[in-house]
């Protein structure tokens, strides 16, 4: 039980430090900005460790972070192989193809009001569908290797992206568009100089949502058939073997990969949409 109380004590202390940090001048510098979330994360881990040890929770239900860390250190080659299979071969190609195709489609239907009126309601509708349900079907079609995982990701990512891009392209107001036409801007000029930049916040919103969908899609698809490596395979297999430490190790890798992916998109967003009010601090 002492472990639990120690953890709670640590939590309160860390909370205090964070409140102070975020208000202080140091909190506005780069390292300070990074320190706050890290401290928060460490607190969660400490609380978790304290809970598991203090309450004597069995390792087959919830392993302690220290056990998970040991497992990560001990199975780096396996984790790397899973990472390559699921993220590099499944999620990323699927993400790029899916959002690329959505972008091209959005531009294509942008020029044709007829297609736009036809495709948009359907796109909106499909974007809301539980596409994961297609995973077993796509695995049946594209085989059990990474191709089917990428296919699931493409389908999952495509429609949310399409809807966001189309909404983004309509984001600039009438006045701005009229201004462009009074300057005699061509369709292409007005697209590149006004409408695409104006659409960027929406596009990045879509990209962020798509990045998390991509990961879920790639992992869920492995559920329905896969080679004997891959993060989804590892998770579902190890749950059955009660290797919960390995499950959490894989989850940690997935979280890390997802965060880096998301972080990259955010960095690019900052750089592209520096003018948007939401980017001001």
């Amino acid at each position: 039980m002492t472990a639990l109380w120690l953890a709670i004590g640590f939590w309160l202390a860390a909370w205090g430090v964070n409140v102070w940090l975020s208000g202080s001048r140091f909190g506005r510098t780069g390292p300070g900005r990074a320190l706050v979330p890290i401290l928060f994360g460490v607190t969660v881990l400490v609380l978790w460790e304290g809970l598991v040890r203090g309450l004597g929770i069995a390792g087959v239900i919830l392993p302690a972070p220290s056990v998970i860390a040991a497992r990560i250190a001990g199975s780096l080659p396996t984790l790397w192989q899973d990472f390559v299979q699921t993220i590099l071969k499944g999620a990323i190609p699927g993400f790029l193809i899916g959002s690329g195709a959505a972008f091209l489609t959005a531009i294509a239907i942008d020029r044709s009001p007829f297609l736009q009126r036809g495709l948009l309601p359907i796109g909106n509708f499909v974007a809301a569908l539980p596409i994961v349900g297609l995973a077993p079907i796509l695995v049946m079609w594209f085989g059990f290797d990474w191709q089917s995982k990428a296919a699931v990701v493409v389908v999952m990512v495509f429609f949310p992206m399409l809807v966001n891009i189309v909404a983004g392209l309509q984001a600039c107001d009438r006045m701005q568009r009229d201004l462009m036409s009074t300057w005699g801007a061509s369709y292409l000029q007005s697209l590149v100089k006004l409408r695409l930049p104006a659409a960027m916040p929406f596009i990045f919103n879509g990209l962020k949502i798509a990045s998390t969908l991509a990961l879920i899609g790639a992992i869920v698809a492995e559920f329905f058939g896969s080679p004997i490596y891959g993060m989804g395979f590892r998770i579902s297999t190890e749950v059955g073997r009660l290797g919960l430490d390995m499950v959490w190790a894989t989850i940690a890798v997935a979280a890390l990969a997802g965060s880096v992916f998301y972080g990259l998109i955010t960095l690019i967003e900052r750089w592209v949409t520096f003018w948007h009010p939401s980017q001001r601090h």
């Binding site: 069995a58 239900i61 058939g225 004997i228």
Partner: protein, 326 residues
């Protein structure tokens, strides 16, 4: 761990005081594979023993071992390899009864791939279930001396999903099937038995014990729990024997209990017929020789054995001795 055990024991005493509630976690979704329990429930066999049994269907993400560890069930249906592996991981599971006398697992291959015997396996793709069901396969391959990492001369292993599509789509040369389920789906799909070559684990001498009843070791020390389990096993076996004698009725009972409404009469009746063949030789008591064979097969696996040492106390006859006494 210690606290959890205390909690479990406390929970056990608490539930024993009430109307003897028993929660049974199945290994998979509601189907005729578990007919005995549904029959015992439906025909009132549990009720006659004064038990209030809740049958919890499983699913692709439900490991019965984890459920029982978390206190979500009192007794689980599990395969012996998975139960022994869990035991090595520190979850003290004990087999208290073994309604399935023989194994229904086999490898079904397409004849057109040229496979006629296990000697033809090298460099082929074989479909296997994971989630604790891969152990018999891995130990067979290791006895054949075949690597399962996809290296030349070994076999490429594919984690098959919940159906037989990898075989139909020719993504795998062979897939794992159960005599009572997937094999017939292959046949239903339009392939004839002549198109197929099957290798039963039973015939290959690598059979392991399937659907047995497992409980946590600590709870067995509690006499009230013992008593409940004796009643439970007795009623369950009565259910199984009834199901064997009346397969069609049993299948319909299973169908009534299937809440998805997606199971079909044809599938369940056929499955019941096949399952009856596997349970026929068992009165519920575990055949210790078969259990030792299972252990030997799991231990013999080459580089990555399923279990590293022979388990002690992984099964007990104290429940079945009493249950079958009368």
């Amino acid at each position: 761990m210690k606290r959890l055990i205390t909690a479990a024991v406390l929970a056990a005493t608490a539930s024993a005081a009430q109307a003897e509630d028993v929660k049974l976690q199945l290994k998979w979704v509601t189907q005729a594979q578990f007919a005995g329990y549904y029959v015992a429930q439906d025909k009132g066999f549990y009720e006659e023993e004064g038990l209030n049994v809740t049958i919890l269907p499983g699913g692709p993400d439900i490991a019965p071992t984890q459920v029982i560890a978390g206190g979500g069930a009192d007794v689980i249906v599990e395969w012996m390899p998975a139960a022994l592996a869990a035991r090595e991981k520190g979850l003290p599971l004990v087999n208290i009864a073994q309604p399935f006398a023989s194994s229904g697992m086999m490898l079904t291959c397409l004849k057109e791939t040229g496979i006629t015997s296990p000697a033809d396996f090298p460099d082929k793709t074989l479909g296997v279930w994971f989630f604790g069901n891969e152990y018999p396969f891995l130990s067979w391959m290791s006895q054949l001396g075949l690597a399962t990492d996809g290296s030349p001369g070994g076999v490429t292993v594919l984690k098959q999903g919940f159906n037989v599509d990898p075989l139909l789509q020719k993504q795998a040369a062979c897939i794992s099937t159960m005599t009572y389920n997937e094999y017939w789906q292959v046949i239903d799909a339009g392939l004839t038995p002549e198109d197929l070559v099957t290798f039963k684990y039973e015939d290959q001498g690598v059979a392991t014990l399937e659907d047995g009843l497992y409980v946590l070791e600590d709870r067995l020390q509690d006499e009230a729990f013992q008593e409940t389990m004796v009643k439970f096993v007795r009623a369950s076996m009565k259910g199984w024997k009834y199901a064997e004698e009346n397969p069609d009725e049993a299948a319909m009972i299973v169908l009534d209990n299937d809440q998805t409404g997606a199971q079909t009469e044809t599938h369940q009746k056929r499955m019941m017929g096949e399952v009856a063949k596997l349970t026929a030789g068992s009165n519920g008591a575990l055949d210790v020789a078969a259990a030792e064979r299972t252990v030997a097969s799991l231990l013999s696996e080459g580089s990555d054995p399923v279990i590293t040492k022979a388990p002690e106390g992984a099964w007990t006859s104290m429940i079945t001795d009493k249950a079958l006494a009368e």
